[in-house]
Subunit: 196 residues, 2 copies
DNA sequence: GTCTATACTACGATAGAC
DNA sequence: GTCTATCGTAGTATAGAC
């Protein structure tokens, strides 16, 4: 029965990841030392290196975790029995804003610029989000708007592109709450709704 | 006549900034050492510290330079005797894509998350871009569409918000040429044009 | 598995000659 | 102003006891 020990192992990893996440939000990925992470997690260097191969490994885990969290939010839209229309999706995304997640995501985008491993995670996550938006829009077009399946698929793909773009802009805006709020979610929602 | 020497001084600074820029694009802001910058610039450590107070100072200068370059591009639109309509602005922005500038900008956004000095530069630049977009749209509404001045001002502000958002999405897309192209500039242009 | 202590490296910044 | 050489420090990762 290695299940129990493996579950505990995963729990420890998560403990480290969450501590690292807090450090990254406060100090930035590159400028937090593993000493910072040990202090924040309450563990020691030896313990951490027993669960991760090195700092880069921790960074990857934190980025993956944060982006997964965001994607699951979108996945919930698509799985809903009453799929929201694109305008509602935008408003819900804006409402579900978590500044910490947004900051991690922005740092990840910056890192993706030079680090292939991070770029990979970011790239596949964007792909996944696009697919999820597509699924959500398609379900809405078919179920609520009565579109034919093939016509809905084509429209959904285009709509998903817009939603990814809006999502990215909201990301920047959410990361800086006191900053210039260029994106008016309601206005964008109206814009997208008008195209329906 | 300190003019000449001051010009030469500015030239040296620019030489260092451009070398640093190349390093940042290749290796990332945090991971390039000042040794890398000296090697790339052909200068020495001593010389560099005669022109900048430290690495953070160089980073600030590079970010400021890159963002200024982008803003000037937008300023040209507003100053044009025949101001482009919003859809054209989007298409021109997409056409003028420089991957290196986009990567620097993304790294800057990531840094802005934790570094107040960079956040300041990024914030004021976004404000400036918003104002420039506003001016460009207002000029277009008045000159080409015959709107009244006060009505144009209100509409221009909203349009500028959309343009900033699209600009930010294009930034992410431009930084990863082989990545998932979520934003279809033509489609977005159509969308904005439809709202006219 | 977890701790403390430490080895080794790389970096930012300065000193001093020219 | 620019160079070379170097100082001090901070950081990653490991060793070895428990």
């Amino acid at each position: 029965m290695p299940k129990l020990t493996e579950a505990r192992r995963e729990l420890r990893r998560d403990q480290i990841v969450q501590a690292a996440r807090r450090c990254f939000v406060r100090t930035g990925m590159e400028r937090t030392s593993v000493a910072d992470i040990t202090a924040e997690s309450g563990l020691s260097a030896g313990s951490i290196y027993a669960h991760f191969t090195g700092k880069a490994d921790i960074v990857r885990a934190v980025v993956q975790d944060s982006l997964d969290r965001r994607a699951e939010l979108v996945a919930a839209f698509a799985a809903s029995p009453h799929p929201p229309n694109p305008a509602q999706v935008i408003l819900q995304l804006a409402a579900a804003a978590d500044p910490d997640d947004a900051r991690i995501a922005l740092q990840a985008l910056g890192e993706a610029t030079t680090d292939p491993a991070i770029r990979d995670i970011v790239g596949t996550t964007i792909d996944r989000m696009h697919a999820l938006f597509r699924a959500s829009c398609e379900a809405w077009l078919v179920k609520s708007e009565g579109h034919a399946a093939d016509a809905a698929a084509a429209r959904a793909t285009r709509l998903a592109g817009h939603l990814v773009a809006v999502f990215q802009s909201l990301l920047i805006q959410n990361a800086f709450p006191d900053g210039p709020g260029a994106v008016d979610a309601t206005a964008v929602a109206d814009l997208v709704a008008a195209q329906t």
